[in-house]
């Protein structure tokens, strides 16, 4: 397979791919650093502990210091509620039998106030945010890179059209020979026209 134009085009595409990937990476990461938020972390398991005697404290109207009133999660987090109390507890859709644990996958962004049996206020706020993870950044890179590469490739064709290398002259400098032959053919053309 010896097509000089195709070889040149593929070589150009390879160079442009490297440049395009580099540029996209630079812009993506730059903007990520600028707009980064505290919840931009990979999903993880978040454990909430209901200590023994919680139901008694709640019945007496006393708060349980170890349990926050609001929790912020990121999509993909797993909320695990460990119940060390002797009574079962409930947090919205989550039902945790006594001395057991229940887990819930937080798969989509949401902001809820759930009815809750281990808060004196009877309610607990849960917020699930979409994080910008390494995966998201890679996804961004792979979405933006092809378009950038195609754009750069086409732009490069406009600025520097593909030209096959000059034919190699026997016993002389190939490029100067090529220029000489080209000039000769042009002058012949001019003579013919006249």
């Amino acid at each position: 397979m010896k097509n000089p134009i195709l070889t040149l085009a593929l070589r150009r595409l390879l160079i442009v791919t490297v440049i395009g990937l580099g540029l996209t990476l630079l812009f993506n990461e730059g903007f990520f650093r600028l707009q980064r938020e505290s919840h931009d972390r990979p999903p993880q398991e978040v454990v909430l502990l209901i200590p023994e005697g919680t139901s008694q404290r709640v019945a007496q109207g006393e708060p349980v210091p170890s349990i926050p009133e609001e929790m912020i999660f990121v999509v993909g987090d797993v909320l695990v509620v460990r119940n060390q109390d002797t009574e079962s507890h409930q947090l919205g859709p989550l039902w945790v039998p006594a001395l057991s644990s229940a887990s819930l996958n937080l798969d989509e962004p949401m902001q809820y106030v759930y009815k809750c049996s281990f808060q004196t206020s009877s309610y607990m706020g849960l917020e699930v945010k979409t994080p910008t993870t390494l995966g998201t950044r890679f996804q961004g890179l792979f979405l933006a890179a092809p378009a950038t590469i195609i754009f750069l490739f086409l732009y490069s064709l406009l600025l520097y059209p593909l030209q096959p290398a000059a034919p190699k002259a026997v016993g002389g400098d190939s490029s100067s020979e090529y220029v000489r032959q080209k000039k000769a053919s042009e002058s012949n053309l001019d003579k013919g026209e006249k």
Partner: protein, 208 residues
């Protein structure tokens, strides 16, 4: 570098990219949409009366059919205007969605209103949705014991209407495994699609 080399390099890069993408998407373990109880809660055996006025014992029910992989248990009452009909319709949809796999599932409806839900009433009510659904009732004491074990809340609400009282009750769906333990629960409003996906996984796991 020859054209063929560039071509091979391109194909190689495309293959690596596809492999990374595939590994990211398919290597993830299944994430249940319902709530997992760990360790599974042992509710123990119980005996009530089904809609055909026959005694129903959970342990015998599970032992009688080796095909059973999971039993969906819901607590409700036949006069319920909202949550119970929706859940029973969802049960029906889950059954349809699971197709042949549904033969590994059973659906049980336990009343929270024994005063009005006798076997005959339960039978007529469940026939509307699916006659294979099991309806259970019994005397107040036995039912209270079952409600307690499942952590079910129920309270009569006098609304002063001609239809009589309403019953506030837990709207959760409990998924019992072959041992009769609760390992998974579905909150109300989770939807039949999500339930079917979780149950498909549950059946797959218990078949291994």
């Amino acid at each position: 570098m020859k054209t063929r080399h560039y071509f091979l390099l391109g194909v190689g890069l495309a293959l690596i990219f596809t492999a990374i993408l595939g590994a990211t998407v398919f290597a993830r373990p299944y994430a249940y949409q319902g709530s997992i109880i760990d360790p599974p809660l042992q509710v123990g055996d119980f005996e009530l009366v089904d809609q055909y006025e026959q005694p129903f014992r959970m342990s015998e029910y599970l032992e009688s059919d080796p095909d059973i992989r999971a039993v969906l248990v819901f607590f409700g009452y036949t006069y319920c205007p909202d949550v119970c009909p929706i859940t029973l319709i969802e049960f029906k949809q889950v059954k349809t969605l699971l197709g042949e796999q549904a033969e590994h599932l059973r659906f049980v409806f336990i009343t929270v209103d024994p005063e009005r839900d006798d076997p005959e009433k339960l039978r007529r009510h469940l026939d509307i949705y699916d006659p294979t659904f099991v309806g259970l009732t019994g005397d107040q004491t036995r039912l209270e014991e079952v409600w307690y074990r499942f952590g079910v809340f129920q309270a009569k609400q006098e609304v002063g209407s001609s239809g009589g009282y309403l019953v506030d009750h837990t709207s959760r769906v409990y998924v019992l495994d072959r041992n009769g333990d609760i390992g998974l629960t579905f909150g109300f409003g989770m939807g039949s699609d999500a339930m079917a996906q979780d149950l498909r996984q549950k059946i797959r796991q218990s078949t291994r």
